[in-house]
């Protein structure tokens, strides 16, 4: 079991460019989460999927952020027109299920730097 896999580990973009982050959840896990970590805000919830369906995206900045889960083996987080304030570590996590009752397993994260 390789755990939750996130690629790339590091990404540097120029202001205004697009960034796509990839996540492969643990096989068999039906719930996938995206979080963002910054020094100022700490760990912030962005969105989550259950059985590939988007359930709650209340943490997503509405205008430039989007997340998809086209199949059970991967999810993407896309940021359009990146801004310096988007710089953060983006974490993906998965769990067997989610009813508030399942252990969450995190990937190593993607460190996004927007110049």
């Amino acid at each position: 079991n390789a755990g939750v896999i996130q690629t790339p580990r590091h990404k540097v973009t120029g202001k205004g460019q697009e960034a796509t982050l990839w996540c492969e959840p643990i096989s068999g896990h039906s719930a996938v989460f995206w979080y963002r970590q910054t020094i100022v805000q700490g760990l912030e919830f962005l969105t989550y999927f259950r059985n590939q369906a988007p359930i709650d995206d209340s943490g997503m900045p509405k205008e430039r952020f989007s997340a998809q889960m086209p199949n059970q083996s991967h999810s993407t987080l896309k940021i359009q027109s990146t801004q310096p304030q988007d710089s953060a570590v983006y974490l993906c996590a998965s769990s067997l299920d989610w009813g508030g009752a399942e252990t969450l397993y995190f990937g190593s994260g993607t460190r996004l730097t927007v110049l």
Binding site: S58, T103, L104
Partner: protein, 108 residues
């Protein structure tokens, strides 16, 4: 919204000693998870609790949903226990709300 107050923000222990980390929740949480950030920056799950206490080696965690707090006790601290510890509560809308973390330094 749900908020989690984690304390202390930083803690220094000598090897062999122990202490406790605490998280207070502003709302009723259904469960709490404790994580530790490893050397690669990954969050490793230490405990999941819906109630009561759990123990694993030198770590012990307790969660009281009614009183809205959780604790993580570390005993006989070792150098490799150094790192950042986070608690997270499962509250409304089935998502985790994280504390700000506790930076633990274990000194010889």
């Amino acid at each position: 919204g749900d908020q989690v107050e984690q304390s202390p923000s930083a803690l220094s222990l000598h090897e062999g000693t122990g202490s406790a980390l605490r998280c207070n929740f502003t709302t009723t949480m259904r469960a709490v998870q404790w994580f530790r950030k490893n050397s690669r920056g990954s969050l490793i799950n230490l405990f999941y609790l819906a109630s009561g206490t759990k123990e694993n080696g030198r770590l012990k965690s307790a969660f009281d949903s009614k009183e809205r707090y959780s604790t993580l006790h570390i005993r006989d601290a070792q150098l490799e226990d150094s790192g950042t510890y986070f608690c997270a509560g499962s509250g409304s809308f089935n998502k985790l709300t994280f504390g700000a973390g506790t930076r633990l330094a274990v000194c010889p």
